[in-house]
Symmetry: C2
Subunit: 194 residues, 2 copies
């Protein structure tokens, strides 16, 4: 059975413990949003599909009149999750409009190129700061919080990856801005540069 991307996120989220669709959305937004996104419009229908396919089982857990369904992995779902993890990941598809801008800046508006690189640096710095805040929150929760609080080593590693790669990118773009500035101001009729 071919799992959709959303199905993989759901199975992954349910592997740790049973959750409602709402909880899954919150978790994706909080912990995985720097490399993955999912909307209600995907999560709720996919949960139903997965239930029909026998990969998850939902149980009613309404609180008073507020409806609530908590899903957990069925044995087939556990198998499917393991299989997915086992497979070699296909090559990464990246989509970055910022890089696209930098890529074309030279032919559209050369003078702006260094500035665009600087903007990218600022965005990367902001992202790093944001992720650092999440890390601090998670670490704080792990210290005083219940056993629910501590994330596993894989997700901690991914968070670290987000922080460190953003910092690396910020430095890289800053350096690139300087190089591009030198090229622009220096040469003139000699566009070959370098």
């Amino acid at each position: 059975m071919e799992l959709s991307a959303t199905a993989k996120v759901i199975l992954g989220m349910l592997a740790a413990r049973p959750r409602s669709g709402y909880e899954i959305k919150q978790l994706v937004d909080q912990s995985a949003r720097f490399f993955w996104a999912a909307s209600y419009g995907q999560i709720y229908p996919e949960l139903k599909r997965l239930e029909q396919a026998g990969l998850v089982t939902g149980s009613e857990a309404s609180q008073g009149a507020r409806p609530r369904t908590i899903y957990k992995l069925a044995p087939a779902g556990k198998r499917a999750a393991r299989e997915w993890i086992e497979q070699a990941p296909r090559t990464l598809e990246l989509r970055d409009e910022g890089l696209l801008g930098l890529f074309f800046a030279g032919s559209i508006n050369p003078a702006r190129t260094p500035e665009i690189a600087r903007e990218r640096a600022a965005i990367a710095r902001e992202k790093a700061a944001e992720l650092r805040a999440i890390e601090a929150m998670v670490d704080g929760a792990a210290e005083n919080g219940g056993p629910e609080a501590k994330p596993d080593s894989g997700s901690r590693a991914v968070l670290r990856y987000g922080i460190e790669s953003s910092e690396w990118a910020a430095e890289w773009f800053e350096r690139a801005a300087e190089d591009l500035e030198r090229e622009t101001s220096g040469a003139r009729g000699a566009p070959r540069g370098r």
Copy 2:
């Protein structure tokens, strides 16, 4: 006027010089494919939309019986491209199934986590090598090639970014694999064994 993502790529590609839809697709695949993708199903319809909106103008350039249309930027298209470049880029949305796997590996199959990190490292190394090959090709073409060959500083910078960030990622994942291995083997009643 709101430009679609595909429209931005097209305007960017036409900024350097006029091209056919086919050429745009080839160029995207060759030079931008590590951070952007576009299919014929997007490019051809979008070219027509852009022509109707007056941002590009197509001229027939058939060779014998083989049909061919070459598009170039109209003045309005130049303005639109400049505007887009001028705007601050929105925050980056990333989608990485490999990171997703690592993220969940801890709860789905902890013993495999280090190995998954190693696989990621291998993929990053491959990507770096691939991009290095492109760089060598581009540099070679610039030396002996015609005036068509040399890419502008922005796209050279983006290529360098692809190479260096992939190399950084490869090292990071290798280190992460070692850390995760130490964690796994060290602590725990480690019941599952492997």
